[in-house]
């Protein structure tokens, strides 16, 4: 119950920030955020993964819409948002689990530490990626194709490892 409530709280926070700070397309951003929170609540009540995935994707879409409305400036708080999204996802998956199994205190304490570690790690990884993205290397079609190939390769690698 506690992880589910925390996940909803975190999702609401993530949804509110872009909706309140947007100058344009406020209704679209707010609608995306609201849909994400409702979808997450539905997922937690019904204990379904599919609406949860949709909720996370909608939060990402809301952020993307907010970025598009914002202009060309790079959002330096993106690593924080990424950490928030990861925390929301982790808490939501914890909330999906049936609570019939009573966890040891050690398990709960270590899980709390792990979540904190994930958040810090997400900020660190996000900052590295953001720093790498801001290095001026110029843009070209070849580089974009290389990026798409790298992304596809990464996904293929993940799929291969998961088998």
């Amino acid at each position: 119950m506690i992880p589910a409530a925390a996940a909803l709280f975190a999702a609401a926070g993530l949804a509110l920030h872009p909706a309140l700070s947007a100058d344009r397309r406020v209704w679209l951003i707010a609608a995306l955020g609201g849909l994400a929170v409702v979808s997450l609540a539905w997922a937690l009540v019904m204990r379904w993964t599919t609406p949860l995935a949709w909720a996370l994707a909608l939060l990402g879409a809301e952020y993307a819409a907010w970025l598009a409305a914002r202009g060309v400036d790079v959002d330096t708080r993106a690593p924080l948002y990424a950490a928030g999204l990861l925390l929301t996802a982790e808490l939501a998956f914890d909330g999906l689990e049936r609570s019939v199994v009573r966890s040891d205190v050690e398990v709960v304490a270590r899980r709390g530490l792990q979540l904190a570690g994930f958040a810090v790690g997400a900020v660190a990884v996000g900052s590295v990626v953001l720093a790498a993205a801001t290095i001026p290397v110029g843009g070209s079609v070849a580089l974009t194709v290389l990026g798409v190939a790298a992304a596809t390769l990464a996904l293929a690698l993940i799929a291969r490892l998961a088998q």
């Binding site: 993106a78 990861l86 996802a89 398990v107 990626v129 996904l155 490892l161 998961a162």
Partner: protein, 424 residues
């Protein structure tokens, strides 16, 4: 251990891919930043994950217990890799319940450090159990994979029915030839005074009753009752049972049978068992502790087997029912086959007493007038059935849950004191 993929992995991989592609399509590095932690976590989880190879061993502090006892079960867990969350569920058969401890429970299991889960189990019902079945689920640190295993139960536990306290037992009409604790109705060497008779050639001098001899001016000797053993056959009716709220007529019957067998064997009588039901089982009369364990083991395996075949007393092997044996039937008097078989036994001259494990408290009288009428008629039919036994000189006493067996034994004894044997 069986590995299964969590939906979390799919969702995270999907989000990572979607974010990276969206970042490329929109030309926004922030979206790649958002996707990066998910991608990083997926890669780390896939690389670091692996079968934790959890070993489970289950130990019971004892293999025998009495109904109502509590015993300790220990589950020792050991893993080749650290498991951040290991869920363990002990599978408890019906008849055993958890008295203390958590089941299921989630723990952290460090590598090569065994952890022991201690659970207190309460033996709710008599019977033979195989315990120790455990379901375990180990999750990797990132929650992407679950490793499941099932440990099959292999610890045998016998829960004996709790004995009732008895002050007296049903005295058989005839005794056997071996020494025992039952004062025989015959005369011979013994302690209990029986009668006086005139001295006959060969009588030992120590049997002479000097006071009576002096009064009558001729030698008179004391006659005594010898102490002999008896043959007791416990006749358990297992054709049918009535069950309600976890208790049944069969439970009562087994408890009574165990108590009687134990008490008779303790006084050196030979005790046999006939389980007369859908499945016929028997134990020839014997004495001693081994025989007691044989009987208890047979009782623990007692079950109701549905069978429509007509059975009478002829199917019971002759040597199981020795002549002059006391037959104590423990029956709910519900199945016509056992009712007939008992009357047949009586007709063959066996000394019979019936302890009726009354099904009446287990039956619902109903709510409507018709249902209550049917219930009253059913009770009247049972009364009529008891009268048939009484007419044949057989003591039938009702015994139900909550009342002591001692009361039923005393009722049988009182009936037999005044009843006369009748020909059926």
């Amino acid at each position: 251990m069986t590995r299964s993929l969590s939906s979390k992995l799919t969702v995270y991989a999907g989000l990572a891919g979607l974010g990276l592609l969206a970042a490329l399509a929109a030309g926004r590095p922030e979206l790649a930043v958002m996707a990066a932690p998910f991608a990083f976590l997926v890669c780390a989880g896939l690389i670091l994950g692996g079968d934790p190879r959890v070993e489970v061993s289950v130990d019971l502090d004892r293999a025998r217990a009495l109904e109502g006892d509590e015993l300790t079960l220990r589950i020792v867990l050991r893993a080749a890799r650290t498991v951040s969350k290991l869920e363990a569920l002990l599978l408890l058969p019906p008849g055993l319940s958890l008295a203390e401890g958590e089941n299921p429970v989630a723990i952290r299991l460090p590598r090569d450090e065994p952890r022991t889960l201690e659970l207190r189990l309460r033996c709710e019902r008599w019977g033979g159990y195989v315990v120790g079945g455990v379901l375990i689920r180990a999750q990797d640190a990132f929650g992407f994979y679950a490793y499941d295993a099932r440990v099959e139960p292999d610890r045998e536990l016998k829960v004996f029915p709790r004995e009732e306290a008895l002050r007296g037992l049903i005295r058989p009409q005839e005794t056997q030839v071996f020494a025992g604790d039952e004062v025989s109705r015959r005369r011979g060497e013994g302690i209990e005074f029986a009668d006086l008779r005139q001295f006959a050639f060969g009588d030992p001098v120590r049997h002479v009753n000097w006071r009576a001899s002096a009064r009558r001016n001729q030698l008179w000797v004391n006659e005594r009752h010898p102490e002999r053993n008896t043959d007791v056959v416990i006749f358990l009716d297992t054709f049918t049972e009535v069950r309600r709220d976890g208790s049944s007529t069969l439970d009562l019957a087994v408890s009574a049978a165990a108590t009687l067998a134990s008490r008779y064997i303790r006084r050196r009588d030979r005790v046999g068992l006939v389980s007369f039901g859908g499945l016929l089982r028997w134990l020839r009369p014997g004495t001693g502790l081994v025989q007691l364990y044989r009987i208890i083991d047979a009782l623990l395996d007692t079950e109701i087997w549905l069978n429509y075949a007509w059975k009478d007393i002829d199917v019971v092997p002759a040597r199981t029912l020795p002549p002059q044996a006391l037959v104590i039937a423990v029956t709910p008097l519900l199945d016509e086959r056992s009712v007939r078989a008992l009357l047949d036994l009586r007709a063959r001259g066996f000394d019979l007493a019936v302890i009726e494990t009354s099904p009446v408290p287990f039956a619902d009288p109903g709510e409507s007038e018709v249902e209550r009428l049917a219930f009253r008629l059913w009770k009247l039919r049972r009364e009529a059935l008891r009268s048939r036994y009484h007419a044949a000189g057989v003591a039938v006493v009702e015994w139900g849950d909550g009342s002591p067996l001692e009361r039923a034994i005393q009722e049988v004894t009182a009936f037999r004191r005044h009843a006369r044997l009748a020909r059926v």
